[in-house]
């Protein structure tokens, strides 16, 4: 059952109806039931992995909380020390098991293929089917165990409660990656039927679907054609292909997240923001703070901080100061931690060398930015006003282009293909002769469709720009007279039905990030 299929709409209608009809104290049970039904309809027997992991993490949390209670109760320093060791051991085992499940299902074949290639071996592949959402729920399980281990909050005492936290259906496919302390309370609270909240949720859902079916699905064909036939493109055409993919993935992912947040809002559950106008970023580092925010913040809290403050990196930092001087030496530890974070973000996207390269691309650019000390000097030398609109616009465009070029790694079929595309970028850089009627036909969209695409992308960017200026679009719409509001809703529904792409060759039911 795809996310935008008729079956899903029916499923959603039944879930909404049941949720608001049952006594409020049972609302969370409705969510649990329908989350598991949704998961089973999508993944069949792989639901066993989700159940097993939920039970395992629940029990690990219980063990960690019990150890923490004993640490608080005892006054004996030796016993305290022993208990702290035990806490660390339980947490380490928990993380190894949960991460192990992800590595085995997602990365084992990639590892085996590389071992076979390196040692000319013949180890058979497992060919595991990736359980739906495992890349997302693994991270939420790990954050829960670490937080409970550190005493940030108490463990959940009700296994069914915890199973809902792990399986909550709107967000299990592609996030946002939740934190237990922000999501769980909302899941188990009683929620009234609030007309304004429900309509605002549905409005956000419709907006997300519109981005997905009008932009992302429309761009899917030309982008696929470009990456499958990259050998026939050179120079600026590569850049245009990469830019098209940038808009496709933004409309796809942010559209999906808007739909998920909208559905959740109908239930009265507010999910964390996952985007903050990423294409208005002035540096790649800023881009990653605005794109897939919940993944970035997870990496910051559970990888970047522990790594940059680790004793090993601290010692390395001190040694580097002596060798490299104060400025560069100080930055060594955070640079290494930053690089590791981006490498992991790359690998998290999938089991392939192209994702490793994608991580390295982002890691290298960002660490170079951290180590570069001459920004202010450069502005002064070239007499650039760092606050001027023109300079900031230049930085936004530059960041967007670097980001789009980097995405060639993640979208190309494999690493050699990505490198070939890179190479072709420097061949006949300004040759535009490739644009002809034949190409348009091959790309699968006529002029009308390109115009529609351009209009919709402009609308999305204008809305992003208004948000950037602090305008709350949803509040603004909510403040309009009821007739105008409903005209907007109907126009959105009409746009989805008329301009959305359905049928053969289009797959409105899957999302790019759902595959990660």
């Amino acid at each position: 059952m795809g996310f935008l299929s008729f079956k899903f709409v029916l499923f959603l209608a039944v879930t909404f109806f049941t949720y608001f009809v049952v006594p409020k104290k049972f609302q969370w049970l409705v969510l649990l039931l329908f989350s598991y039904v949704y998961y089973f309809l999508n993944s069949r027997l792989l639901i066993a992995v989700l159940i097993a992991e939920s039970v395992f993490v629940f029990l690990t949390g219980k063990a960690l909380s019990s150890i923490n209670r004993k640490i608080k109760e005892t006054q004996d320093k030796e016993i305290k020390k022993e208990l702290k060791k035990k806490n660390k051991l339980v947490l380490t085992c928990g993380i190894i098991c949960v991460l192990g499940a992800l590595i085995v299902t997602k990365y084992s074949d990639f590892i085996i293929e590389n071992i076979n290639a390196l040692l000319h071996g013949n180890i058979s592949l497992f060919n595991f089917v990736l359980p739906l959402g495992i890349s997302f729920y693994t991270l939420q399980a790990i954050s829960y165990m670490i937080d409970v281990s550190k005493g940030k909050y108490e463990c959940d005492d009700n296994i069914l409660h915890f199973m809902l936290y792990m399986s909550y259906f709107p967000q299990i496919i592609q996030g946002p990656i939740p934190r237990y302390n922000r999501l769980a309370k909302q899941l188990f609270e009683e929620h009234d039927y609030d007309y304004q909240r429900v309509t605002q949720g549905l409005q956000l859902m419709l907006w997300g679907i519109a981005k997905k079916v009008i932009i992302a699905d429309r761009l899917a064909k030309p982008v696929s054609y470009f990456f499958e036939n990259h050998a026939q493109f050179t120079g600026i055409s590569i850049l245009l292909g990469a830019i098209c993919y940038s808009f496709q993935i933004y409309a796809d992912f942010s559209g999906g997240i808007d739909a998920i947040k909208g559905i959740s809002e109908v239930f009265g559950i507010r999910l964390d923001d996952n985007f903050r106008q990423p294409y208005f970023s002035r540096s790649i580092e800023e881009f990653w703070r605005r794109w897939h925010i919940t993944l970035g913040s997870w990496m910051k809290d559970y990888v970047f901080y522990p790594l940059s403050l680790s004793k090993t990196l601290n010692r390395l930092g001190k040694a580097s100061r002596k060798v490299l001087g104060e400025f560069a030496g100080k930055r060594v530890a955070p640079c290494i931690a930053t690089f590791v974070v981006y490498l992991l973000v790359g690998i998290w996207h999938g089991a392939s060398w192209k994702y490793v390269a994608y991580g390295i691309w982002n890691g290298v650019i960002i660490t170079c930015g951290i180590m570069f000390d001459g920004y202010k000097k450069m502005l002064k030398t070239f007499r650039i006003n760092g606050d001027s609109k023109a300079w900031n616009l230049f930085r936004i465009v530059r960041t967007f282009l670097i980001c789009s070029i980097g995405r060639i790694f993640s979208r190309a079929a494999d690493l050699p293909a990505a490198l070939n595309i890179f190479k072709s970028m420097f061949i006949r850089p300004f040759d535009l002769s490739f644009i002809d009627a034949e190409l348009f036909e091959a790309l699968g969209l006529n002029v009308k469709n390109w115009v529609l695409l351009a209009v919709m992308i402009i609308i999305v960017m204008v809305i992003d720009s208004l948000k950037e200026k602090g305008v709350d679009i949803r509040e603004a719409v909510a403040g309009k007279p009821i007739v105008l509001r409903w005209v907007i809703y109907y126009l959105l529904i009409l746009a989805i039905l008329v301009f959305g792409l359905y049928g053969g060759g289009y797959d409105a039911s899957t999302f790019i990030y759902g595959r990660f």
Binding site: K300, D301, Y305, L309, N314, A337
Partner: protein, 76 residues
Amino acid sequence: MEELLELLKEIRSDVDFEKEENLVDDGVIDSFDIVSIISEIGERFDVEITVDDILPENFNSAKAIYALIERLKEEN
């Protein structure tokens, strides 16, 4: 407190640490700044701030950072 303000100024000269009350919540300082601040505090105040102490409430203002340093000194 003076020494702390001086240290913070060296790391981010563009921020008014005496007035800002929501350094983390408003995104005035980022994770890289926090790591730099922690590393400098370790050097100059001889206290070890661990990853468990990285909470927004401990870094939202110069006062909060100072209170954290004082608390860690007492615990030592």
